[in-house]
Amino acid sequence: MALTCIQHCQRCTSLLRSRSVGITTLQYSTDAQHWPAALWNSFIVPVLPSLLQRSPNPSQTRQRWNLGVRSYCESHAKVQPSQTKHRNTDELPGTDMVSYQNPVSHQLIDGGMLLKEWQTAFDLDDAPGHSALEEISHEEAVRMDIPAALPPVSISLKDYVNESETLGKLVQLGVQLWKLEQRPNVGSMLLRLDFQTDVTPRLVFLKQLGVEDSRLGYLISHNPFILTESLENLQARVAYLRSKKFSAESVASMVSRAPYLLNFSVKRMDNRLGFYQQQLGLSAQKTRDVVARLPRLLCGSLETVKENLKICKLEMGFRENELQHIVTVIPKVLTANKRKLTQIFDYIHNTMNIPHDLIVKFPQVLNAKYLRIKERHLFLQYLDKAQYDPAKPNYICLDKLVSLPDEAFCTEVASATLKDFELFQKTIVAQPRMTSFSERHFTHNSTQTFFRQNNMASRAPATTGRLLVSFRKWYYNAAGFNKIGLMRDDTIHEDSDVKEALRRLPEKVYNDRMFRLKRALDLSMKQAVLPKEQRTQYEEDVHYLEPYLKEVIRERKEVEEWSKK
């Protein structure tokens, strides 16, 4: 009751001010003037007129409200009669009462329903006008509710939480309003919701789904938009998941762990499920398991997953079946940070010298923290216990290395005290950085070299690689020297470095260069070009002089350094 009264009053004032036709000197506006101008544009939680869309309007409240508004309006109408006269006669005609009705009725663009309500609520003929100085009986005075001084706009939901039923109930559920109010527009969206008609059906739906009460708060804190998603959509998506043979419990756990899951369309979820099944080559049941364990796979972007898969296959050199096993045990590898993943793998494979098959047996190591693995390995190395080969004695299981807490690790694995481990930690110094890509050897059982693929996969994702290459090709053709049959290194300007590099070329390469240059001179004399089939192609162009030139330049620099000393 008090709530509706307050909200009516607020609506009145907010509407009046929203038009800003000079009615800025209302009493309420003084509150707003305390707020700096910048606040008005950002983080505003305006109390919009649609607050009262569906609240019941008993006649009693209407009368009371009429009393309240009228006394309010009267006082203000009397204070600024001059300002009620405006060009826009639709909005503010002369008389007191009507002046405050029409702006309202013409300003209600966003709530058609509201218009009628307002008009029905505001029955001018109902009660006689009251003056502010008129004496009223004690009962009436007690009955009159004083509206709470709620600011019309605010940067925080704190100001409204005592009066708003929705916000109060959400706080009791455990929703973190302080986080939500920082997100743009979420605060006003929550205020606009009606608890009975909006929030309750969705909460009931989630409960029926099997989400626990304690998780509801978490869910709404992370995804407040579930309260605005239509129930039909939500039901359709759940039906889709059930049709894909996800059990009811797994659907409930997926929804509670990935709050945004039910906001995605059926088509998108289907697309993703299909992608995982196809890319990983897993059976339907295994795909279901993987997705049930990490439901965010269905929510996020597929680009990161694609890149991670590429890294695992090309850089790390895992085979298909190995990758399948890793993903079924640790689905998080698909969404892990690329840099950290490669750092850990590099350390495990190149520094700890653990072969691929052992890593596949214990994929948990890829999920562990780099610092933890490093410190424990160095400690074991210091104690001469770093032996990870199962065939040899005193073998240390990778699983124990990574997953045991410090205390247990020290006593069981390293046979030392926790204090010793801490003292050792304080003696660790920097380790050499990762070896460069060309020196790395992520070789597998087969003798594949991954150098070229490494560079491709590491430098840029596939799409921009193609763009760059096509640009380069175009530039190469535009440069024109390929039309007379030359290569890039034939056209290099001959300074002393280049002369020395040329002197070092092998005979065959040198003779080929001479031939090409002669041919080109001949063509230029004749003002002709080669036919298209004989022109040098971008792919055929070999930078034969580059390594020699680099060597020469390095030597010269070294000589200069020495001569400086």
Binding site: E139, D159, N162, I428, E558
Partner: protein, 341 residues
């Protein structure tokens, strides 16, 4: 009656040291600790929700016509505006860092919380020395003087013996000592200056370039060797360059494989917290330890009531001079106002 979280806040005023692992930026470390301290404050039980009184009007059932009595009932309703979930208290903990450590090095990093950050600036100005352990490798030279850089040249080092290395170090220490004398701006022909110099308490007056007050070879096994350095106004890159110059003096080359700070003023590596202990209770414990040690040293220094002459002060300081060599500075820092309470 303070909230439990405010009480935790008060316990956090002080300085403490942590061990920074290599490979992380010092800012990340500081942010982690700040987050952990805030978590500790939030973990304190929240206060009971405040109540507010709301008057609800109830109209009693009208039995007789005239009895329209209105009764008002006062209801105590929880004020949700100050509920922990509704309001984010913006507590600001200022965690300040003492002498910084770059990404490559590891070691003692002094942090201060709250009001004690002022003590940190005093620590800067008081010219406390710092102890480092440098690990070097002979035979390589890189562009950034450390083993993570690009290799520039390789040299032989078979001709280097321990004796030669120590001679080079002695020469370097000598030149640093001369620099110290010049920058301390004392008149070397006075008795007071001589006594200070003998005790190792000379310090530069004002700004100075990096000066090493002590240099020692700990361990030599070619190509690896370890130096211990006591220095002022240094940066870690400067120390790596020192190692490089040591190599050059020996007609070979050397790179730095690790820089580890073992002492920063009065904070030693013994009490530094490793990363498992960067949590609120451990930090509170460390601060308490620091405060008690400060009280003890304060008591010790102000104990001689009568004879507060310079001779006895120097005597006491001389006891500790052997360990740190800058107890005089320490004393003035410890008793300065910023450390108060």
């Amino acid at each position: 009656m303070a909230r439990p979280s405010v009480r935790v806040f008060h316990k956090l005023e002080g300085l403490f040291s942590i061990y920074k692992p290599p490979g992380v930026h010092w800012k990340l470390v500081r942010d982690t600790i700040e987050t952990n301290l805030l978590k500790g404050i939030n973990a304190a039980p929240p206060p009971a929700p405040r109540q507010r009184v709301q008057f609800l009007a109830e109209s009693t059932s009208v039995v007789a016509e005239g009895s329209n009595e209105l009764t008002l009932s006062a209801a105590s309703v929880p004020a949700l505006a100050h509920h922990p979930l509704g309001e984010a208290l913006h507590i600001h903990i200022g965690v300040g860092v003492g002498h910084r450590l770059d990404v490559f090095s590891s070691g003692v990093l002094v942090l201060g919380v709250g009001q004690s950050n002022k003590a940190l600036t005093d620590l800067y100005r008081s010219h406390v020395t710092r102890d480092y352990t440098l690990e070097g490798e002979l035979g390589m030279a890189t562009d950034n003087f450390s083993h993570t850089g690009r290799l520039i040249e390789r040299t032989t080092y078979d001709h280097i013996t321990r004796d030669k290395l120590e001679r080079v170090l002695a020469m370097m220490q000598g030149s640093n000592q001369k620099a110290l004398l010049t920058y301390s701006k004392v008149d070397m022909s006075t008795q007071g200056a001589y006594e200070l110099a003998v005790k190792g308490e000379l310090r530069p007056d004002g700004k100075s370039p990096p000066i090493m007050t002590g240099l020692r070879l700990l361990h030599f096994q070619p190509p690896h060797f370890t130096l211990e350095v006591q220095c002022l106004n240094e940066t870690q890159r400067y120390l790596c360059r020192i190692l490089h110059e040591v190599g050059l003096e020996l007609r070979s080359t050397a790179v730095c494989k690790g820089v580890r700070r073992t002492r920063d003023g009065p904070f030693t590596i013994q009490h530094a917290l490793t990363h498992q202990h960067w949590t609120s209770p451990d930090v509170i414990q460390a601060i308490r330890q620091y405060r008690s040690s400060r009280k003890a040293s304060k008591a010790k220094h102000t104990q001689p009531g009568k004879d507060t002459g310079t001779a006895s002060q120097r005597q006491e300081m001389a006891e500790e001079a052997a360990v740190t060599g800058d107890s005089h500075r320490l004393h003035s820092v410890l008793t300065s106002k910023a450390f108060g309470s």
